[in-house]
């Protein structure tokens, strides 16, 4: 199941040149770029693992692309995303966030039903990726 999260997620996967151009746009606006990865792309999983520190003071996309490639290589079966963080205005926010790498087979989600009081059923989703025991996930 193809995950559609973040900017560009309904488009075909971006090529490295396109990713570099997006990062270049973010850097030109003065945003700091960071790389994050996770095996569990649950929509409510806001905290992906950080791949190194956010990269402040970059001038060119090549530096960030180096980290994107290193992260892909280290976690080929994880999702990798690039965030562009804007601290230029005094308030701080993520301006752009897009997936730059997906596992070859995306495990997707299953529906979990929970019996509530009065025969009510509560639904939630759970990623198949989290089925595996902890030791084989990270």
């Amino acid at each position: 199941m193809r995950i559609t999260q973040g900017t560009f997620s309904f488009l075909p996967d971006l090529t490295d040149a396109e990713i570099g151009a997006q990062i270049g746009y973010a850097l030109a606006r003065g945003w700091a770029v960071s790389v994050e990865h996770t095996d569990d792309p649950h929509p409510r999983n806001a905290y992906w693992e950080m791949w190194g520190m956010p990269m402040f003071d970059l001038k060119d996309a090549a530096g960030a692309m180096m980290e994107v490639k290193a992260c892909r290589q280290a976690f080929p079966a994880h999702y990798v995303k690039v965030n562009a963080f804007d601290a230029t205005q005094g308030w701080e926010t993520t301006r752009l966030s897009f997936i730059v790498h997906r596992p070859a087979a995306e495990p997707g989600f299953r529906v979990v039903r929970q019996e509530g009081p009065g025969r009510a059923v509560r639904y939630t989703i759970e990623s198949y990726a989290v089925d595996r025991p902890e030791g084989s996930r990270y």
Binding site: M55, D57, K59, D60, A61, A62, G63, M66
Partner: protein
């Protein structure tokens, strides 16, 4: 099917002069000639590199193979011979010629690259490299990276990461190493990998007294000062005496001398009580301001 640039037949000739004008390189080279006194071998090498990049550009227009040349450099020379200044210009020139994308200069020393404990060096070096990508990385006193007396020194790790990026990401980054000549030679002898990846070794000669005088003139003009007519001879005398003294650092010593002369001028003007000073007096360094230097104390 749509026609792309590669489908079109390549032209048969290219106007190098027009190409040069288009990039604005002649202006940068002229500026270099004007702003930097002396340094003939350095300027000649920069001209060579500019010409090579221009020809490469022409070759690409004609559809000839143009492998980007390796432009990592090593600047050797005594203190104050203009290594950092030229590195800054180099970043501009390479940017105009389209060899680097941004044209900024990141100047670092050993402390910025080498960490203090195991596992600290690699991220530190990589961070500096990332910041320098698209521009020029200037490593001052590069020989400190290698400390042969301590075999567990982390400098070696920084050198290895540096080498890897210098080799694999040649179009993202130009590395310029700088340092004193003899110590750089020792450094290259013990790091043959580094020596073989640096194509351009540029030696910065010491300035002659006349060149130092011209440099002093440029510095004063930039600071908005001028010398009193009788101070010119004093400055000439000062340079002749200073050159042979210990710890002489070429243009840097001249800058310091001028800064001290400005201090003395300020003291002199303030001490002359009750006087109203005019534009001329504020802008003029008198012979006495230079004459008080300890260089004349013998």
């Amino acid at each position: 099917m749509t026609a792309t640039a590669s489908d079109l037949p390549a032209p048969d000739s290219v106007d190098l002069a027009a190409l040069a004008r288009e990039t604005g390189v002649p202006e940068v080279l002229d500026e270099l000639e004007r702003d930097l006194v002396g340094l003939a071998p350095v300027k000649a090498r920069i001209r060579d590199i500019a010409a090579l990049l221009l020809v490469d550009r022409g070759r690409r227009l004609l559809g000839l193979p143009a492998e980007p040349p390796s432009l990592h450099m090593c600047f050797t020379g005594n203190p104050g011979t203009g290594k950092t200044t030229v590195a800054m210009r180099m970043a501009q020139i390479l940017h105009r010629l389209g060899y680097v994308r941004r044209g900024h200069l990141v100047a670092v020393t050993r402390d910025d690259l080498v960490g203090q404990y195991i596992g600290h060096t690699a991220p530190k070096t990589r961070e500096v490299l990332k910041k320098a990508m698209g521009g020029v990385l200037f490593i001052d006193e590069a020989y400190y990276l290698y400390r042969p007396e301590n075999e567990r020194d982390y400098g070696q790790e920084a050198i290895e990461i540096l080498l890897q990026v210098m080799e694999n990401q040649r179009d993202d980054l130009v590395v310029i190493l700088a340092g004193y000549k003899d110590r750089m030679e020792t450094f290259f002898r013990s790091n043959p990998g580094m020596a073989s990846r640096i194509a351009h070794h540029i030696d910065f000669p010491d300035y002659s007294p006349d060149e130092l005088h011209a440099i002093a003139g440029l510095m004063l003009a930039r600071m908005g000062y001028r010398l009193a007519p009788d101070a010119e001879a004093v400055l000439r005398d000062y340079i002749a005496r200073r050159v042979v003294q210990p710890h002489f650092a070429n243009a840097r010593s001249i800058r310091n001398a001028l800064d001290r002369a400005r201090l003395r001028q300020a003291t002199r003007l303030v001490a002359a009580t009750g006087s109203v000073v005019g534009r001329d007096e504020l802008a003029t360094l008198a012979a006495a301001d230079l004459r008080q230097s300890r260089v004349f104390n013998d």
